[in-house]
């Protein structure tokens, strides 16, 4: 029982990070049909800003604020420079553009920062453990679960209570018609990228907090996982992305805990097989939505 609860918390923490990343991918995809593979570099950017801010001995809250602001700016800049010129182009063009952006950023990180991991000296208070009876809950893990919950609640409120949020939901159903409401298309798209940057930034901080360092390739694997999560959930569905993220987190943690030791190196392969099995039965994903991309 204790072990089960412990693993549940692990799964919530890992799945939550995947969910935030998958959500960031889905927010952009639902509006302009772009799968942004440069999403991982947004995570990495958050990690580097955090590393430098802490190295410069800035106060911790300020460091966090800067580390979250950086990917928001970077995401909107990406949209303005790389994706706006190809908006409305085919899915392949968009995808290749995002690979290019991703590769360029990775090379910039390698050449101007370092190809090696840069340490992110998080405050030592964060590495402690809270003992709740038989449960040992890592502080970083708890923060990760709480942050994910806050982000999900915040995003839900934004999407359902504000004009900009409702415009984004409308745009994910019919972008052209949102323009007929007198709402600026560029504004809606920029907001989507800013939100995806925010989600990537928060996920990036949670990620570096667990590993303690950042390197140019850091974002690749988690974003690949998030992409898989978004596919399981039904690409473009925001609820689906969250569900897919948590599901993937649960699968991975469960396999890690209960797979025979000899099988552990194949954990990811087994996880992907399970994903394929899901897609064989639900090719559209668990919570599929129709994507409307007109004009």
């Amino acid at each position: 029982m204790d072990i089960f609860l412990q693993q549940l918390l692990n799964a919530l923490s890992l799945g939550g990070t995947y969910a935030l990343l998958a959500l960031g991918l889905a927010v952009v995809f639902s509006i302009i049909g772009l799968i942004n593979f440069a999403h991982g570099e947004l995570m990495t950017a958050a990690g580097y800003v955090m590393a430098f801010a802490l190295a410069a001995a800035l106060p911790f809250p300020l460091a966090i604020a800067l580390a979250v602001a950086a990917p928001v700016l970077l995401a909107t800049a990406m949209e303005r420079v790389a994706f706006r010129p190809v908006r409305g182009a085919s899915g392949t063009t968009l995808l290749l553009t995002s690979f290019a952006v991703s590769a360029i950023l990775r090379v910039l990180f390698q050449n101007f920062i370092s190809a090696r991991p840069v340490p992110v000296p998080m405050p030592s208070a964060l590495s402690g453990v809270i003992n709740l009876g038989p449960l040992h809950l890592g502080i970083i893990q708890s923060i990760s679960i709480a942050t994910t919950a806050l982000m999900l609640i915040g995003l839900t409120l934004f999407l359902n209570r504000t004009v900009a949020g409702r415009a984004m939901r409308a745009a994910s159903e019919d972008f052209a018609i949102v323009r007929l409401m007198g709402l600026r298309a560029n504004g809606v798209v920029a907001t989507a990228f800013a939100i995806s940057g925010l989600l990537a930034g928060v996920a990036g901080l949670l990620w570096v907090a667990q590993r303690g360092s950042v390197d140019p390739l850091m974002g690749f694997l988690p974003v690949l996982k998030a992409f898989i999560a978004a596919i399981i959930g039904g690409l473009g569905s925001l609820t689906g992305a969250v569900a897919g993220g948590f599901l993937l987190g649960f699968i991975e943690v469960t396999l890690q805990a209960w797979l025979p030791e000899a099988w552990l190196p194949y954990r990811d392969a087994v996880a992907i097989m399970l994903v394929i099995a899901v897609l064989l039965f639900r090719p559209q994903g668990l919570l599929a939505r129709k994507t409307v991309l007109k004009l």
């Binding site: 409702r166 415009a167 409308a170 052209a176 007929l180 409401m181 709402l183």
Partner: protein, 240 residues
Amino acid sequence: MTNPAPLLDVSGLTVSYGAVEAVRGIDLKVTKGEIVTLLGANGAGKSSTLNALVGLAPRRARQLSFAGEDIAHLTPELIVRRGMTLVPEGRRIFPTLTVAEHLLLGGAKHAARGPLAETQAEMLALFPILKERLHQKAGSLSGGEQQMLAVARALMSSPDLLLLDEPSLGLAPQVVDRIFALISDLRARGLTILLVEQNVALALDIADRGYVLVNGRIEIAGSARDLMASAAIRDAYLGA
């Protein structure tokens, strides 16, 4: 005798999608207070014309002016803010958004809350059914209700000129009657309307003037009465 300056003044409007020319240099005028109808067979270029007027379709024109101002290079959002909007073909409502959310977004150009609430109250008085459905998702409405929602959403921007694309499409006859009664009502309130409609008899009954589009060109223009009386038009172009 001088004609008042037209609200919408278009000449040489061309719409092409790649190599395909859907509209080939048409001239069109709509004067304040009129209902003008654009008739023609499927694929004649009617919807393309309306989409081009609001900037949603790729367009070229010698002249494209609305309320005396050149709008040829404006984006749809800016055109809507100047007072011309479109109720698109097929209604294009947002299925997962509520009726209230549609009205809110439709009125997005009203920056202040006062005018927004006022316009919304006006819409709910005009469409009592929408008041009953205010917090329902638009996807759960009937076809007729969705059409009314699409019109109400467009009217929330307080337009001077409303472009209506096939408002009767896919609706039961009595619902169509209600929609057309509504269009007359809107004109009585001072709204100017450019109407695209498959149902030629209905459209000419309500309109002051009409244009007949054939293969992207205007073949005939005239008063609704003349068009109605012209057997040649009916036989040759309208298939009625």
